[in-house]
Subunit: 249 residues, 2 copies
């Protein structure tokens, strides 16, 4: 590409998070960067779209906007409103999320959803996560983001495919192409009492690891590799179609 | 099963919607029914989980509760808090949504997400939608919900599989097992100005139909059949894994 590529950045931790700043610094090395991100934390926002209320867009400067909504809202507003009169980005990168998005957690992830939304709208999307809550060091994950985004811009991505990338803490041993695994976890609801004596609840979970299975995101990260899981917005269980065929009438 | 089955109901249109009332009336014919649903409309909520704030549970009577959150919140609170001390439901049904949940829209759907959450937590889940915005007649969709839920309770569902069911308006010609199709649509953002002169935006879309392809949810409903799409929470694009193998290092 003759011009510098135009890169849209979003995330679900909000525009003031360390991860999005690290991602922007990395992307500025290869292209023009435009950030459209939630004004506050939207973790667990999944692929939700705000339909029941209007949204506000706040322009911070020439290349930064916030939206009072989800990562999916940000991407659809970026591509259809904010940037639409001027250009279409070459790629959309989402993250870097602080914490892993592996296994079923990918289905709850706003970070993954941002990349999925851009893919649905025809712009290749990649989600990046630092697979560690303890580490705040985005050095290696930024390097991976730079390398993978550059490659995706040159080679392109398979049709309708987004990439969900989890980077281990420390220096990665290499890259593995993986499938979504299964976490072993148990939801735990904690009950608290407010100052007026009324109960409220927080959703949490206790994790005991992941299901041992070859080729998964969990396995790759556990062994110190960057996990790249190609994903799609098709939820169909093709195996089950044959199994249920006898239900037809 | 000797006892009457225990059926958990949720939805994303909220506890006061016509669709959930129709579903409850149908389910009461085959089992004990427990309703845990959002207190207000959560359309487009997707598989989002409320992690950044606490949730309130309001008990209406012995078998009805509301949650100030998403369908996913409702299901996790139902299974891990509200009903947990007493029993585990045999099945979770979500809906009946007023409007279709087909193609990529399934990924934005709170109705589908409710069934996905229960499936992840080990309780078979089925999502029901009336594939018409104009019709408010839930007679046929209720009949389908009754028939399919009864069958799922007897036969079981394939492991890790939820069903996404869309019922056409009118009297269905039969049942088709389908895959998720592709809608042909264009997002449209409408800009408005508030009384203080500030802009706000609503996300909408213009639909021109669906991609002609055999065996999809869209095709089945268009031809007057009930569409049953088996789904899973695995977003992996298995086809793309081989294609990206050369990216490994």
């Amino acid at each position: 590409m003759a011009d510098r590529p135009k890169i849209l950045i979003t995330n679900d931790d909000g525009i003031h998070s360390e991860g999005i700043e690290a991602l922007e610094r990395a992307m500025l090395q290869i292209g023009e960067v435009y950030v459209v991100a939630p004004e506050s934390e939207m973790s667990g926002a999944s692929h939700s779209l705000t339909l029941a209320r209007p949204l506000r867009i706040r322009q911070i400067d020439e290349t930064h906007w916030t939206v009072d909504g989800t990562p999916t809202d940000c991407v659809t507003l970026a591509l259809n409103q904010i940037l639409a009169p001027f250009f279409r980005p070459d790629i959309c990168v989402s993250g870097i999320n602080h914490g892993a998005n592996m296994g079923d957690d990918a289905t709850y992830s706003g970070t993954v959803a941002g990349a999925m939304e851009s893919t649905i709208l025809g712009v290749p999307g990649i989600a990046f996560s630092l697979a560690s809550y303890r580490s705040h060091d985005f050095t290696e994950s930024s390097r991976v983001a730079l390398e993978v985004t550059r490659k995706a811009l040159v080679d392109g991505l398979p049709d309708g495919t987004l990439l969900n990338i989890n980077v281990p803490k420390g220096i990665p041993k290499g890259i593995r192409i993986t499938k979504q695994g299964f976490k072993s976890a148990r939801p735990v609801i904690s009950e608290h009492i407010d100052p007026r004596g009324k109960a409220y609840y927080w959703i949490g979970e206790i994790r005991d690891g992941f299901r041992a299975e070859g080729g998964t995101d969990f396995e790759a990260v556990d062994e110190g590799y960057v996990s790249i899981t190609p994903m799609r917005s098709d939820l169909t269980s093709y195996d089950a179609i044959a199994e249920l065929k006898s239900w037809e009438s």
